[in-house]
Every structure is written in C-alpha cells, then in structure tokens.
Symmetry: C2
Subunit: 381 residues, 2 copies
C-alpha cells in the first residue's frame, strides 16, 4: 500500500528519455502540440470531421480501401481483443501461428471467446513455416473460421512472411487476421494486396504517437461475419456493431466518449508519416538498423535471429553476453544515460535485449549514442 | 466512403468551445501542459512512480483506503465493462437500478457476461426508490451477486441516494457497485463510508481531464471475488488479475502498454482538485448550478426533475420549450457561439437539454454567457 502524501505530489517533470525499447517510441514535437490542442465534444461536427480524416489517413497507412477502418478506444492490445471478440463465436475454430508472446496472447483471447485454437508453433526466433499453416488447414476436420498470425513479433523481432497467406485462407473460406502492432509504418504491409481481412495495430510503435488508440481495419468479408453473428459480441465496449454506428452511420450515434486528444495526436502522427512517405520510413528503418547491427558486430554482440531476411529492422534483438548482468546494464543505460532498451519477454527474459528503432527513434544520433554507451557495459571486466 | 485526400489534411486547428454538455468538460491549461510532457516507457521506474502517485490521488478523490485503486486503459465505459467482466460469472444474478441510459447499459453488459439481471426500474427523471431495491433482495429466490446502480445518471440528471445501499447489500452478502462517472469530484461520494465495493468513473466529467482513462476502485471483498472466480475473465484486456500484477505486484509485470500521457494529464487534473479541495469543488458546482437555474426560471424554462433534492448540480436538465427547434438551437449555440450543450439521450431525445457545469466548466462567466445566448433562441417568434 502506497504511503504517498497527496499534498506533496509535485508538478510533473518526467525525464527526457531516448526510447529504444519495443515501444513507446519517441514522439515528434508536432504530435505533442496536437495532443494538447483544446478539447471539443465527441459529437461536435468538427470532431466527426477529424474522425473522417483519421480514417482516411489510416486507410492510406494500412494500404487499404476498406470502409471499416477506424481506431479503437484503447491501447494496441484492445485492437487484438476487438478483433477476436467481434469475429469469433463460441465453438469456432481458429488456426494461430505462435512463435512468441503475442501469438500466445491471441490464443488466450480466442479461448476466452469460447473458440477452439489450432496452435501451429515454431521456436521463438524462427518464423512459422507457411507450409505448416497450409497443412493445418488440410488436416483440420472442422471448418476454420480464421487464421491469425503476428506480422512482427515484438517479443522476438521476427518478421513473419504473410504475403501468400491471405489467398490460402480464402481458398478455405477463412478470415485472414494479422497483428501489425509493430509492423505498421515500419515495414511493408499491404492489407488489400495481401488479402488481409482484419489488421490491427498500436500507435506507440512505428507511428511514434503516444499509446491510447488501436488502429484497425476490417474487410467487407469480415464485417459481414460480425454483422451476422448468432451470438452477441461479449464485449460491450468493443462491440463493432455499435461502434460502427458512431463511425459510419449517418446518425453518428453516441456509443462511448472517444479519447479526443489522442485522436488529435494520431492525426498528426499519421500526417508526419504521410509527408515522409511510407517508402522513406521503411528505408530509414532498414538503414538505421543496418548501422546498428554493424556496430553490434564490431562490439562482438550476437544477433538472436539467425536468418537475416526474417529480422525486423525496427526491433533488433541481440543476445546478452554471458558475463553481462542484464538488469544492471539496462539500469545504467536508463538512469545514467536516459536511454531505454527493451528487456527480453517471456522465455527470453534475461537472454536478449530488444532495441527499437521505430519512427522518430530511428535516427543515426540514437544509434551512435547507444553503441557508445553499450561498449563499456559489455566489456569483459 | 470518405473521399478525403490525405495530402490535403492540414494542421489541426480545433475551435475553442465552451463545453457545457454532459462531458467532456473544459480542461485547465496545467492539464494540457502535463498531457504533452515527454513520453517515457510504461515500465520506466519514473512511470511506475507516477502510477503510484495517481493511485494515491485516486484513493483520495474516491475517499477510500482500498489498495486496489487504479485507472483502466479506456474511457469511462471501459470502467463499467471492467467492473462486470471481473465480478460477474455466468449464472450470477445482479440487481440493477435502472432509470436512464446508463442503468440500461449496465444490464446489457451483465447479460453479455452470462449474468441474470433483476431490473428495478423507475421512470426517467426519478430516483429508484431504495425500498424497492430492498424488496428485490427479499423477493429473490436466488443468491444475489451484486446490486449495481448509477449515482449520477448522465442521461437524466438524477442524483440517486446511495448512502444506505452498501449496508443493505452486505446484509445480503452481495457486492455494492456504483457508477460514479459523473459524480466523482462533482458531489459528495464516500466509497468507504458508504460501503461501496466497486466504484468506477471517467476522467472527462468533473475531473476535467480529457477522456482516455477510467478510474476505478475495488474493496478487498470485491477483489477476493475476482481472485476466486471459477471461470476466466472473458476480457483479456480488462482482466484485473493480470492488470493488478502490473499495478500492485512487486514484479510490475507487463500486461498492456499504459496510455502514458493520459496518466500525466490525470495526475495533474487530480492535483488541481486536491489543491482546491473536494468541499470547494462541490460548493462551486452547487453555486453555479443555482445561478444557472435561477436564470432559467427568469427565462421561463422548466426543469426536467421535479424534486430539487435529486437534481445534479453538475448536470442540469431542462425541458426544451415546445416552440423551439432542438437541433437548430443547439447548432446556433455551437457554431455561432462556440457553446456546446448536451442533447437529450434515449427516450429524452428532442425533449430536454443537458447543461453540464463540471469542474473547469463550472464558472459564472459560462453561466452568464449561456443564459445570454439562450434568451433569443427560446423567445416566441
């Protein structure tokens, strides 16, 4: 139980960190400025226009013409939850590719929805072989509602190849669901071209916007399934049927109070990406990652993922040398140098560091700074 | 389908509105400043300290010593959903007092959790008679898991007397659940003294903070029920058992990425209330409401709630005169005078206006401005 005296809580003065963990990433001054613009009502015609603008920008960044493209009123995981509570009904079967924390989380949520999960697992740090996903379809003795997979596994730094999976799903009359929390605006992601039916993300990764909203897009096929459910969506807060009345229906019917200022911030973060272009953002991630990895090689650090083509440039996972104390090193970086890097998650705790180079954080100055500060920490004593 | 050209979306420039609707309310400059402070990580020791500070301030504003006092990562309705998904299991029976939109919403959510609802209804604009709630306990032929009621019905402006209901619930071994979305920091609310087991709120009403978090507090009795459930909480995102590991456990285990900057803002909004004192805030709401209602009487406007003692000072509901066009009048106020008032909700649509005087909005200048702008709009042509 805290014993904080509320009379003694002083004005906020957070440190200025370089955020090189798995998100949140650093935020552009224009986004902070937008965040603190004067609040207006959630049914104000100007706010409805802002929602429309955010929607247009989200369609652009997802590379989709999906009408049902919006932002859920919670952080990235609320996008994952919204996806499954809306599409999965009790008794449905979902194939899930699992090679890290977030694949496991998808399975957990599907089970909470009363769904059955066919787990197609791969060792952490490796991709899920697309052939094994195809086998799972062929071996299933029940209709498959959906195949779900993480595009960029934030716990391992693996880039899952997903380009061909949409066609596979649709041959089997299943939805194709993609977790793009860390990949959106980070690496190539083409919702329409890759036939993705539901794709969700967060704002605090490659969009470099503070956390608080979950961008999400649904194909017409997915929406038809949501609209024709035989059971009610178990979540009221994330019930797409009602949320779409607020976003899409002419009545703009009140559902919840949208987090207004978060929308201001997301709008500006998307404008920044749009001005830069997606291609340039992808290129910057690759370039800074290459520079960082070359520096790591010079320091004798090993990469967790062996196959170069499956490494995420925005999230570089390196093995912690045996002689280095994980927590002590990260604390020195954070508290002495205001530099945050990510710890290992789940079974990788204590074994790896996750170094984010996402959006605004992907700058050469940050790469140089981290390499310089790492060097003395990893030297043999 | 929107036809917005993303290349032509310009810098944000929202109008400066006087927000006299049912929330969001106006925001103090200090809160905007906090909102746009530099982001840090959700596991940064400084952020964990901010969470502790927010927790201490929330305990103070809820008037509770409950250890399990926190803010859910969504807007006010996520607090309602978190309450029921965590405490209600399939087959449980919950008595709900219903006299407006938000009582109905509670019933909807309980049913989505597989619970049975005993509805104790009253006409909109009237309180739910406590005697009828007691009768519901006595007439039930099944154990009652909880009694849930809205303290300040945002759809009608009714203040529900709840002081005695906690003792009633505990005689019957039931939880006492209170929706304090509009009442927290608006009128007297004493979680411990009134024996409330779960109390949730929003940030955008009398706390005058932008929407995006749901303050919530759980008694030890409520937490014991959450910890000893026989079924998993159906929501992963709002599963208190995991969220408390992040808030309360020494490990501070990662669950979701907290909406960091929203916490900055809530912390500052709570500091402002604390500096002012709750008593003074309550007094200001009563005083400005009295001035507004006197002005309404002078204009010949009628109050929707007949019994004065059950009127909420922060949300004043007035009948729209028959000769006045609801939408046209509100649009004139909004678009010509930057003044937002609330429309009627649900069965009161077109019949009433809801005038909020919450937190930062509760200023005499706003009361005078609204009365002056209303006068020509409601005059007989």
């Amino acid at each position: 139980m805290s014993e904080i005296d509320v009379h003694k809580i002083r004005e906020l003065d957070p440190p200025q960190r370089v955020l090189m963990g798995p998100g949140p990433s650093n935020v552009h001054p224009r986004v902070y400025k937008a965040l603190s613009m004067p609040i207006i009502g959630h049914l104000d015609p100007r706010f409805l226009q802002i929602m429309d603008e955010v929607q247009a920008l989200l369609r652009w960044v997802f590379q989709t013409t999906n009408r049902f493209t919006l932002a859920m009123p919670g952080t990235g995981s609320s996008g994952m939850e919204a996806t499954f509570v809306n599409t999965v009904e009790p008794g449905d079967t979902v194939i899930i590719g699992i090679n890290g924390v977030f694949g496991n989380r998808m399975a957990d949520i599907v089970e909470r929805c009363g769904g059955n999960v066919i787990r197609v697992e791969a060792p952490w740090g490796q991709i899920v072989d697309p052939q094994r996903l195809e086998d799972a379809f062929n071996q299933a003795n029940t209709p498959i509602k959906a195949l779900a997979i993480v595009h960029a596994e934030t716990s391992t730094g693996v880039r899952q190849p997903i380009e061909e999976l949409g066609a596979l799903c649709h041959q089997h009359d299943a939805l194709f669901i993609v977790d793009a929390v860390t990949s959106l605006a980070g690496i190539e992601l083409k919702v329409d071209e890759w036939e993705i039916d539901v794709c969700y993300s967060g704002t605090q990764k490659c969009l470099s916007c503070p956390p608080g909203l979950a961008p999400i897009t649904f194909s017409d096929r997915a929406i038809e399934i949501v609209r024709n459910r035989s059971s009610k969506v178990q979540s009221w807060y994330l019930d797409l049927n009602m949320i779409l009345n607020y976003w899409e229906d002419k009545s703009r019917a009140y559902h919840h109070t949208a987090p207004i200022n978060m929308f201001y911030a997301l709008r500006e973060a998307l404008r920044l990406v749009q001005e830069d272009t997606l291609e340039r953002r992808h290129h910057i991630h690759r370039r800074q990652s290459n520079k960082f990895l070359m520096g790591c090689e010079d320091l004798g650090l090993e990469f967790f993922i062996e196959e170069e083509e499956y490494r995420l440039p925005m999230l570089n996972v390196i093995r912690i040398p045996d002689h280095v104390h994980d927590l002590a090193a990260r604390q020195t970086l954070l508290l002495d140098y205001n530099l945050e890097i990510g710890a290992g998650l789940g079974e990788l705790a204590g074994k790896v560091w996750r170094v984010g180079l996402m959006g605004e954080t992907a700058k050469y100055a940050n790469v140089v700074y981290l390499l310089e500060m790492l060097e003395p920490l990893i030297q043999h004593k």
